[in-house]
Amino acid sequence: MTLPITVVVDGVAMPGVAGQTVAGVLMGAGRLSWRTTRNGRPRGVFCGIGVCHDCLVVVNGLADVRACQRRAIDGDEISTEEQA
């Protein structure tokens, strides 16, 4: 009894289920990292509870959203590149 949803990650459709966090959708699809630091190091989930800010993504044009805290909504546009 789960409701499938689709989010768009960097222009590519990615399936998930309602109630998952954005990090849950990304990791469910096998992604382990999605952000790069100033020094070019990859980052994904570290703390999983909203404390470390390693997992930041852009959601529907809004930057600095913690992927591990934000519930994914059907149709969300997720970008892993910082926007200027």
Binding site: G19, D64, R66, C68, Q69, R71
Partner: protein, 468 residues
């Protein structure tokens, strides 16, 4: 903008906050209970969201029946307290944003409660080691959260390492979500563990439920043939874009790695936790006193040093969910102007003895810095290394934490030093021969990251609505 004035406001709907709100309601108080998360339960009773009901949720949980009884209460979820505004003669006014995490159009609420119960819990302390910033290295709590709220296993060959009994439920959740666990490494040796756990066995009987819970996790280890090794730690993680292997080494009783004991293990994930740090920013803003461990000081009724402000759960010291529940009941009753029974007080003190045992058996020891290299990252946000900290301390000859943080940038990133703060303090304390202002790390004016634009926008909306 309207200000709500509940008799009792409880912040945090984990075991402590749920128990406090329930007790205060039973004592007749009008209560508001709120939590930043999308669901009640806190860290302990994390579960699949309502959209994904699970018939067998209880297999991942202890005390699920207790939670079922407590979760029936009204909880304002997705409610992030971001500011506590202090007053001299009454509890602080709390400013709250309600809506999707880190959103931009959240609803702004303000509460000026007659009594406030802070039950904001704790987060993990993970000590840095070379490679700990590689994807695939998680805090143990992240593995736990992903297992419980997402049913995601973080890897196929997972190593769990660090210190404390918390490693056991993590290993257990991992195997129950389909991960392979290649081992559990505890930094402390058997002599210290035995001293901590076998002292005054009568105390353990009083917290029998806790003993039974731990025994269940140990059974999971045995059933899945997961080795448990004492006096051993992960001292480095290797890989380019993700973790592929780790080096583990034996530790002496001070947690210093013993030369010549290195061993490489192939893994695709490693989950590390060395203890917990109470989440005290709201308490600090409210003016509550802290103890030497950085936990909120309370009396036998859960009163803090500020009139009308109470605290319960891990924020007052780390001791597990049973203690959080017992403290919540006592603080909730006191906040409602009622008094706890002798049995309710005994439950609290028995579980506090259990917490003291945890610290004695598992607390962090100073030798761990032996596994740091100069190029090991300490501050993940600003990418400051152990070598940068040492050089910064030597170059400025300053002994002020504040000025050293400003010159090195350590702890000044977006997490506001929640991940590295205590480690930065510990390292600088050693390099400088003693900091003059220890403990400052816990002082953060804002309890959460907020967008100024969002505040400005909500203010405007509120003003526009005002004439109605």
């Amino acid at each position: 903008m309207s200000v709500e004035t509940p008799e009792v406001l409880v912040v945090g709907a984990g075991p402590a906050g749920l128990a406090a709100a329930d007790a205060a309601r039973r004592a007749g108080a009008q209560v508001v209970l709120l939590d930043a998360a999308g669901d009640a339960g806190g860290q302990y009773w994390r579960h699949l969201p309502a959209e994904r009901p699970a018939a067998r949720e209880r297999i991942l949980h202890h005390g699920w029946g207790k939670f079922t009884a407590l979760r029936g209460q009204d909880v304002l979820t997705d409610a992030q307290v971001w500011l506590a505004e202090r007053h001299d003669d009454r509890p602080p006014t709390l400013h709250v944003l309600v809506g999707p995490a880190d959103g931009r159009d959240r609803v702004r609420k303000t509460f000026a409660p007659k009594a406030l119960v802070l039950a904001t819990g704790a987060y993990e302390r993970t000590l840095p080691f070379p490679g700990w910033d590689l994807p695939g290295v998680f805090t143990a709590g992240a593995a736990q959260a992903l297992a419980k709220s997402e049913r995601i296993a973080v890897g196929r060959r997972v190593l769990v390492a660090g210190a404390g009994p918390f490693l056991l439920p993590v290993a257990s959740s991992l195997v129950r979500t389909g991960a392979g666990v290649v081992g559990v490494l505890e930094a402390n040796g058997w002599p210290r563990l035995a001293r901590g756990w076998s002292r005054r066995p009568a105390e353990l009987l009083a917290t029998r439920h806790k003993g039974g819970e731990l025994a269940g996790y140990v059974r999971d280890l045995v059933r899945h043939r997961i080795p448990y090794r004492a006096a051993t730690a992960v001292v480095a993680a290797h890989g380019t874009d993700r973790v592929e292997a780790v080096t583990v080494a034996r530790l002496d009783p001070r947690w210093a790695p013993i030369a010549g004991t290195d061993e490489q293990i192939e893994v695709d994930a490693v989950c590390v936790s060395h203890g917990f740090v109470p989440r005290v920013e709201l308490a600090v803003s409210a003016g509550c006193g802290l103890d030497a461990y950085g936990a909120v000081v309370t009396d036998d009724d859960g009163r803090t040093t500020v009139a009308g402000v109470f605290a319960a759960g891990e924020i007052t010291g780390v001791g597990g969910a049973d203690l959080a529940l017992a403290e919540g009941v006592v603080a909730g009753l006191a906040a409602a102007g009622s008094a706890a029974s002798a049995a309710q007080r005994r439950a609290r003190s028995d579980n506090q003895a259990f917490a003291a045992r945890l610290e004695a058996a598992h607390g962090i020891r100073p030798g761990w810095t032996g596994w740091l290299g100069d190029d090991t990252l300490v501050c993940r946000c600003e990418e400051v290394t152990a070598g940068d900290l040492r050089a910064g301390a030597a170059a400025t000859e300053s002994r002020g934490l504040r000025s050293l943080k400003l010159s090195t940038r350590a702890g000044l990133g977006v997490c506001q030093g929640r991940v590295c703060g205590r480690t930065v303090e510990e390292l600088l304390h050693r390099h400088t021969g003693g900091l003059l202002d220890r403990g400052r790390t816990e002082s953060r004016p804002l309890a959460a990251f907020v967008r100024l634009g969002e505040l400005a926008a909500t203010e405007q909306v509120a003003e526009e609505k005002e004439p109605l």
